[in-house]
């Protein structure tokens, strides 16, 4: 498996506070990876850097076979290159229907002019319906997404990510606020997605991570503390110190 994303030697400082400190991180094609760490470990900032929201002070972020640097690209360009991101809180377009939400996310030409003259084809409709099925929202497809439950919104957002057909999926705390049944379905969606693309999940909940059953990276104070299977990292003395306090 080849490397899809390579982050090396990245540092970011906010007002003297080092949020990310010489962070290096790699992920391969079609890999599922969980990133855990205590609050303030730099998990969200790490995602901000990869998606172009935050510019690092130093370091490299390379993506794809051609090793394109993401640092000079705008958020929209990065997204078009194949990096999808799900935020901590569910952000779907609440006054639009599930269908419209998914249609908007569908991988298409995103230039204003072609969007203006876009007419949806039968194929697009089918594709949207297919996605809705995948995230379990077939019955809600013509409802306004603001009326969905919290968990359904989370799935819708994941569905939108999938519609983008990204090669790398960054998911921030997908299970927060979900019921147990919803969590299970979320796990399934993510695992399914990870078969064809790289998925990075940031999560607090160890149970959820265990259910993902994948390689785990532990962040602490802006750099990687440990990496390996969940059992491996939870046995690591440093990780125990960090989580339980010294």
């Amino acid at each position: 498996m080849s490397t899809l994303l390579e982050v090396s030697g990245v540092s970011v400082t906010f007002d003297g506070f080092r949020a990310i400190n010489n962070l290096s991180f790699q992920i391969a094609d079609a890999e599922l990876r969980a990133v855990i760490g205590p609050n303030g470990a730099g998990k969200t900032t790490f995602m901000d850097i990869v998606t172009g929201k935050t510019r690092p002070d130093e370091g490299r972020v390379l993506f794809g076979e051609k090793s394109v640097s993401l640092l000079r690209m705008s958020e929209a360009k990065i997204a078009q290159a194949g990096v999808g991101r799900k935020f901590q809180r569910p952000t779907v377009f609440e006054d639009q229907s599930v269908f419209d939400n998914l249609l908007m996310a569908l991988k298409k030409d995103r230039k204003p002019w072609s969007v203006l003259f876009y007419r949806k084809s039968k194929r697009d409709t089918e594709r949207v319906e297919e996605l809705a099925e995948q995230i379990g929202l077939t019955e809600q497809i013509h409802r306004t997404s603001g009326e969905l439950s919290h968990g359904q919104k989370q799935w819708l957002e994941i569905g939108m990510l999938l519609a983008q057909e990204p090669r790398l999926l960054l998911v921030d705390e997908p299970a927060a606020g979900m019921t147990l049944a919803e969590r299970e379905q979320t796990t399934d969606i993510l695992k399914e997605a990870a078969k064809t693309r790289a998925v990075v999940v940031v999560e607090h909940d160890m149970e959820f991570v265990r259910r993902l059953n994948c390689k785990v990276t532990v962040l602490h104070e802006g750099s990687v503390l440990a990496e390996g299977s969940l059992d491996h990292v939870t046995a690591n003395q440093d990780v125990i110190d960090v989580y339980l306090g010294r």
Partner: protein, 410 residues
Amino acid sequence: MNKSFFARNPSVLIFIACLALFTLTVSVLADGFGAGVISTSFVKTLGKTLCLCLIAIAMDLVWGYCGILSLGHFAFFGLGGYMIGMWLMYARTELIVANSLAEAEIPPTAQEISDAIGNQIFGVVGGSDIPLIWSFADSLTIQLAFVVLVPGLLALVFGWLAFRSRVTGVYLSILTQAMTLALSLYLFQNESGLRGNNGLSGLQNLPGLDDVPQSTVSLWFFWASALALGLGYMLAAWVVSGKFGSVIRGIRDDEARVRFLGYSVEGYKLFVFTLTAVIAAIAGALYYPQAGIINPGEMAPIASIYLAVWVAIGGRGRLYGAVIGAALVSLLSTWFTGGQAPDIPLGFYTIQWVDWWLVLLGFSFVAVTLFAPRGIGGLFDLYTGRHAPNRHGADLGPDMGSLREKEADE
């Protein structure tokens, strides 16, 4: 699935029908056709109102749909008026000058005609040279192109600068307000070449058509305004109905999310901003020949804020709401400030509406914002049963994101 545009948007058909009926009624009753029920000046007022409805649609598109509270669209409106006003004034002065010089023993040279025109137009600001920006004023075609190009270009440049630096929300509003202020201050100077605070006047007279009575001319403009409004409404409805509308509403609700979906938000905003600026300019180009005079005071920032007020009162995010708001408020405004509204004697004090209308408008505006954020258009929802969870800007912050919406509401 691929139903026609009108089938998918029945409200457009209803609107066009209403507009056509209205236009027909006014035409039949107007002075121009001899019925004389509606006076020429009122036809002009109605025509102007249609233009204001058109710019309200532009405002709704940029604010109600795209979330950019522009306080500068009246600047584009005014610029459009100036562009057509330049031709109207120049061409008419040219005819008058040519007539008066023709009586001289020696026929005038081109230079003499242009000097005389300069004297006529710019004598009031103490000049007689025709400024460079009037170079094409004798050509209707070029000035008509300028109606679209000049405000469009200004919007493009300003929008590019503003959106590129990611100025959003209130900052953007203030920035557009500053742009409007700068433009109107600039036009107030005599050096601007547009007659300073005198503005352009006599625009109600069409060059070469002095024989046509104003009652007829007013109807022509009324029809043109109605046509423009109809076309503008359809264009706007078409823009917002498809995927493009989805995207710009997405930008309004969560700009960052749209960006992470891979859409270049700046490009969309710029497109909408420029498109609406052009619509506003066309509305202005139709408005000022009916008003007869344009001066920089018209472009003061306050005018653009009133525009936002109309749209808000009518109901944002729905095109008919903008039209209703603009028509209602501007007609009421004319009625109240025109001294037609009856005074209210309170015994100790008599409320004269000329003085108190603005107070009423101001407070009713506050009331609308507080109690009816969806405006008058919201009333239609009661009928159609449409109700959307209105969470505009209701921020589920990071410390609330882990809650279900229900929990967050509690």
